[in-house]
Amino acid sequence: MEGIEKVLMQSDEIERTLRRMAHQIVEYNRGVEELCLVGIQQGGVAIAQRLAEYIKRTEGRDVPVGSLDIAFYRDDITKRPQPPKVRKTDIPFDIEDKVVVLVDDVLYTGRSIRAAMDALMDMGRPARIQLAVLVDRGHRELPIRADFVGREIPTSRLEHIEVSIGDKPSHDRVVLKTGR
């Protein structure tokens, strides 16, 4: 039997949420000086680009955007049913002494964020690392919290949250899936 699907966020709501987060990031950091965004592969990359776009509209300045793959830093590579696919890490700027905003689609156990922070530290010494996520679904296994949260959605561990953010904003969705 197919599981149940429920749309939690539609494209217009996602857009409003991301705009608000972009404002918060700029406000919290008092501008965009020294700021850069790094999206975690795969879900965080498109969101980071979208945030940079909204920041540019309000501030009139480009914020550097990079992508980070964390496969080599995971603590569970041998335990996963599907081996993690290695995707591109592309951070074409120096993160030394910068404020790096890590961006991901869903914050869950916090283990991906731990891996992402370790990966960043091996590339330089940022002045600060902050975390922006579109959805916080709870169930943390590590003492990690996000600085900028799109929406908190309490979930059961049996549920699954799927975020699709792509080239066509009108197709953006956040979907909750139950069962299999």
Binding site: D69, A71, F72, Y73, R74, I77, T78, R80, P83, P84, K85, V86, R87, K88, T89, D118, A119, D122, M123, G124
Partner: protein, 302 residues
């Protein structure tokens, strides 16, 4: 994939996946901190029954860049000289707690034999005249970086194909990826039977090199020289040596490869070896990223 015994066992997607993963590691190797924690707590044993510096060092560095512990077990210092059997040696290594065993042996099939007795993942680092899969993978990685892809690419493999495990693995790897492969050399070292592998055979060097995109030179194994496969080193160089004149017959942007160690003035002219068309040292560098990708792939596919 639990072991890497030969390219023969790999599907095209598996080869492509390893090459893609190697790109990720090549990026890591360009950083200031050239190390990732991926294989922390794992142990890699290099078990070499044949002398080798470059392959062993490359595996050693690959394992260390992945944060694994590495032990080098080589014949002159081991119990093998005291008469221990191959399987006993392997079982001893397993008892030490090895997760990966990288093996080289002068007999074909040794890695396959060990893979049936060990819980650890076995990686073939060269067995007799059979295969040397990681060399073929690093060669493919190097070609991909220069040429973008393999479809319709013309590759000439030149020299002692008969005794070369590098050639055997490369033929399979390049054919699987969609390249056109030519074997070039004297009939004693490039027998006609290779045509069954779906490759072209050229006994004339100039003809064989015409229009190719990649020239892969093989080392002439001087230790086999007395068996009459060719008359003399000088004659070999005259007929089969890669000279600047011969290189000019290939495509204008053709690259020159060699698995090393080279015999300058026997299979390759020293000017060609040092020319800007030569990617021989790049192959060495790419070997580390490729072997990291192999270790990673075996670790995540238990």
């Amino acid at each position: 994939m639990r072991h890497l015994l030969g390219i023969r066992d790999l599907k095209r997607e598996e080869i492509e996946e390893i090459l893609e993963t190697a790109e990720g590691f090549a990026d890591v190797l360009k950083r200031d901190i050239k190390k990732v924690p991926t294989l922390r707590g794992k142990t890699v044993v290099n078990l070499f029954f044949e002398p080798s510096t470059r392959t062993r060092t490359s595996f050693e560095l690959a394992a260390k860049r992945l944060s694994a512990d590495v032990i080098n077990f080589s014949v002159p210092t081991s119990a093998v000289v005291k008469g221990e059997s191959l399987i006993d040696t392997a079982m001893t290594i397993q008892a030490l707690g090895a997760d990966f065993v990288v093996v080289r042996h002068s007999c074909s099939g040794v890695p396959h034999l060990l893979s049936r007795h060990l819980r650890a993942s076995v990686i073939n680092a060269g067995d007799g005249i059979n295969e040397h899969p990681t060399q073929a993978l690093l060669d493919a990685f190097t070609i991909k970086r220069h040429k973008g892809g393999f479809k319709g690419l013309k590759v000439a493999i030149v020299g002692d194909i008969l005794h070369s495990r590098v050639a055997k693995s490369n033929i399979r790897c390049l054919k699987t990826l969609g390249a056109e492969v030519r074997l070039v050399g004297p009939p004693t070292l490039v027998p006609e039977g290779f045509r069954e592998e779906g490759v072209e055979v050229y006994w004339d060097m100039d003809e064989g090199l015409r229009g190719v995109d990649v020239i892969m030179m093989l080392r002439i194994q001087l230790e086999r020289q007395d068996r009459g496969f060719f008359p003399s080193k000088n004659e070999y160089f005259r007929l089969w040596g890669l000279t600047p004149e011969r290189l000019s017959l290939a495509a204008r942007d053709a690259i020159v490869m060699h698995p090393g160690p080279m015999n300058r003035g026997i299979e390759i002219d020293t000017d060609v070896a040092d020319s800007e068309r030569s990617v021989i040292l790049e192959q060495v560098t790419n070997g580390i990223a490729t072997r990291m990708a192999v270790l990673y792939t075996l670790a995540v596919n238990p």
